[in-house]
């Protein structure tokens, strides 16, 4: 009997990011029951699989610490990390130094490549990152705005953090290409209490579209102040702020028709390679098991683990170096869509489907708010549910 294969899994179970990781226990439970009998690795032998979970407490220092712990003391064969660059980047650095393969997701791929200092001739050797990048998200956003007939003046709300800086670097050229005018007031600090100077600038510049990468409390402060000061935009499209239905519910009418990037949805036409669940089955299983509304994170996290398990199967349960080689030969249909190593814009990046969606209040539906897919320019396989509508 050979030793079980071990997957390290770093996730912000506590701390400010814990809301995004709230579905993790379901994801793990669901997978563990499917893996109860072990997996059949290349060469035909059965191997047990363990997923060793560590909480990084939404703290970059802790992410680095737990990653090192998983690598050095738990001896994991492969690592998974997703949800925010705060979690992913430190784990990726430790994996790279110590030679452990990593499957990561849920932070724009640029933050994981140029953001960490990789160059085309010196790519990262151990990390396979599966997510979208700025060209996908900007195409999606612009597709939404196209539907709303605006003056093409965009006001940017990009904070001074990894993602905000990434957006500020990656977005402007893409906007310019499509003849949008950008009004960028500069990198504000997260959790600022007053946005009146920014609002004044937007008003003065005739902004009709707000786009940004904003925390929920900041968005609320901004949007309320904007209303008080008589500033209305036709489109409000943000990453992060209203990624979850629970937040939209709290904001109530303020969230109506707010648009955002949606990278997984029950109508995605894909299946899990491990459990065989379709996206719709999977979301339903989540709801019946937790009693809460599904969210987009659970699909993506499931897919990172699928990729890791598939890698272990193909490497025959070999050492980390063998796992690395197998990882970079991945070609797997997952619940998130097909993962084909080497297909992305950088050697260690795989682009996954991205749609644009708007929050809509449901009248007496199962949940008070549902995301409606209004754009599929970066996810051609996914059906659109309806046209975009202006914010009120």
């Amino acid at each position: 009997q050979s030793r079980p294969l071990r997957i390290g899994f770093v996730s912000p179970s506590t701390g400010p990011l814990a809301g995004a990781a709230a579905g993790d226990p379901f994801v793990l439970e669901n997978l563990r029951s499917a893996l109860a009998g072990g997996i059949t690795v290349d060469g035909g032998s059965k191997r047990a699989v363990e997923i060793v979970v560590r909480d990084c407490q939404s703290n970059a220092n802790r992410s680095s610490e737990v990653a090192a712990d998983l690598i050095l003391r738990e001896g994991v064969d492969i690592m998974c990390a997703s949800i925010h660059s705060l979690t992913v980047t430190p784990v990726a650095d430790q994996c790279e130094l110590n030679g452990v393969p990593l499957v990561s997701s849920i932070t724009p791929w640029e933050t994981q490549v140029s953001g960490r200092g990789a160059t085309p001739d010196k790519p990262f050797r151990y990390q396979l990152h599966m997510f979208w990048g700025f060209s996908e998200v900007s195409a999606t956003y612009m597709d939404i705005w196209r539907q709303l007939k605006t003056n093409k003046v965009v006001g940017a709300l990009w904070p001074n953090n990894t993602d905000g800086q990434g957006f500020a670097k990656g977005f402007p050229p893409l906007l310019q290409e499509q003849a949008y005018t950008l009004v960028d007031p500069g990198r504000y600090q997260d959790l600022t209490d007053d946005y009146s100077s920014i609002i004044q600038l937007f008003k003065k510049s005739g902004v009709e579209i707000i786009s940004g990468n904003v925390l929920a409390p900041d968005w609320t402060t901004f949007w309320t102040q904007a209303a008080q000061q008589g500033f209305k935009a036709k489109a409000a499209t943000t990453a992060a702020a209203l990624a979850f239905a629970s937040t939209a519910e709290q904001l109530g009418p303020l969230a109506q028709n707010h648009s955002f990037d949606l990278f997984w949805h029950p109508t995605f036409p894909y299946k899990s390679s491990i459990t065989g669940q379709t996206a719709a089955d999977y979301a339903a299983a989540f709801e019946s098991s937790t009693g809460r509304q599904w969210n987009q994170i659970i699909g993506t996290v499931h897919a990172t683990l699928e990729t890791a398990i598939d890698t272990l199967k193909r490497s025959g349960g070999g050492d980390r170096e063998a796992n690395r080689e197998a990882l970079f030969k991945t070609n797997l249909p997952t619940i998130q869509g097909p993962i084909v190593a080497g297909s992305g814009p950088a050697p260690n990046v795989v682009i996954t489907p991205l749609t644009g969606a708007q929050w809509r209040m449901t009248k007496g539906g199962k949940h008070p708010f549902e995301p409606i897919i209004v754009s599929n320019v970066s996810a051609r396989d996914v059906p659109v549910a309806g046209p975009a509508e202006a914010t009120s």
Binding site: T14, S64, A68, D69, L86, P90, L97, N98, G117, T162
Partner: protein, 360 residues
């Protein structure tokens, strides 16, 4: 008038024995790398830098009375300087460690001059705000700005070509820093500065009246502590491989955590940080899988200690069993007992006024 002889004693038998134990502990730690257990080595490195930070904060707050809640300014700054030297200066990380410390000492100078205008709670909050300003500054300057930066893997590999060699060097460095921090604090406190420092902490006005230049003294301590803290910070982020304003200047981790360690162990005693660090890691390692529970337990423990044993765990034990490992106090002891003064029998008013009572 008396033929008693007094000596001023410091070491006790217990302290001598304890010192022997300490030295053997260090020797044992030096042998750990032979086992090749990288996980344990990494843990010990972490323990070392927490111990060093705690010793420094204890020197600052426990002995100099400078209750800073902003030491993360210097550990974070040191960490950043490491990255700057390595990434832009092309220096080896090991050489960058002391350089980062020196720079931290230098920037602490103007900070100290500003902060020393404040006292008590003003000082505590003032240092905290200063650390916050450090953080905001690093949000803006091109050392990764708000997103932070990673240390090039190549730079780490330059320390030593093999993983084992690298780990060994970092391990020994950390051990040296920890031992160095204790030695620094201990020798400082045993010297005349120790006297002056406690005097200033207890009563600054009176300390000036006996000739102590409290400003320079505090400045010296503040800068020394900042420099050492900066060096430890550099070591920390050499381990973390990545730095960002949020992680470098995290008040919870680098200030609250350290303060908890010191007060749980016993503030104002060199032994305190040892006990505190032991408790901290014991809690953390046993509750690792329960999220932030170790922080909750640490918080609760700190509350309980403040309520029932303000002098900390070590202080509690030390007072009960008269323990010291690092004797600093000077105790006056009689060496030759003398014959009792002979009792007088008759008492009169004149007899009383002629009595040689202890003078006045």
């Amino acid at each position: 008038m008396t033929n008693q002889t007094y000596i001023v004693a410091r070491a006790t038998t217990a302290s001598k024995a304890a010192l022997v134990i300490m030295v053997s502990c260090v020797v044992v730690l030096l042998l750990v790398p032979l086992t090749g257990d990288r996980g344990s080595m990494r843990l010990i490195v972490e323990i070392c830098y927490f111990l060093a930070l705690a010793q420094m904060w204890n020197l600052l707050a426990g002995y100099a009375g400078l209750l800073s809640v902003g030491q993360q300014a210097f550990s974070g700054f040191g960490g950043y300087m490491l990255f700057a030297f390595v990434v832009y200066g092309g220096l080896s990380p090991l050489i960058s460690l002391p350089l980062a410390g020196i720079l931290a000492g230098i920037v602490s100078l103007p900070v100290a001059i500003l902060m020393f205008r404040l006292s008590g709670p003003y000082f505590a909050i003032g240092t905290w705000v200063t650390a916050e300003v450090f953080k905001l500054v690093f949000f803006e300057i091109p050392l990764g700005g708000g997103s932070g930066m990673s240390l090039p893997i190549q730079a780490i590999r330059d320390i030593s070509p093999t993983t084992e060699g690298r780990e060994l060097i970092i391990y020994l460095t950390a051990l040296a820093i920890a031992v160095g921090s204790v030695a620094l604090v201990y020798s400082m406190l045993r010297s005349r500065f120790g006297l002056a420092l406690t005097a200033v902490r207890d009563n600054e006005r009176a300390s000036a009246s006996v000739g102590i230049d409290s400003f320079r003294l505090k400045l010296g301590v503040f800068v020394t502590v900042a420099a050492f803290t900066g060096m430890v910070g550099a070591l920390i982020f050499l381990q973390k491989l990545r730095i960002s304003p949020g992680s470098a200047f995290d008040v919870m981790e680098w200030s609250a955590g350290i303060i908890f360690i010191v007060v749980i162990g016993g503030i104002g005693r060199i032994e305190g940080p040892f006990v505190g660090v032991a408790v901290y890691f014991l809690l953390r390692e046993t509750t690792a899988n329960y999220g932030a529970w170790y922080m909750i337990l640490l918080g609760l423990l700190a509350i309980v200690i403040m309520l029932f044993a303000r002098q900390g765990l070590w202080g509690f034990l030390a007072e009960r069993y008269r323990l010291t490992v690092f004797p600093i106090e000077r105790r006056v002891r009689t060496v030759e007992p003398v014959e009792k003064a002979k009792p007088s029998n008759g008492i009169s008013d004149t007899a009383i006024s002629n009595l040689s009572l202890p003078p006045f």
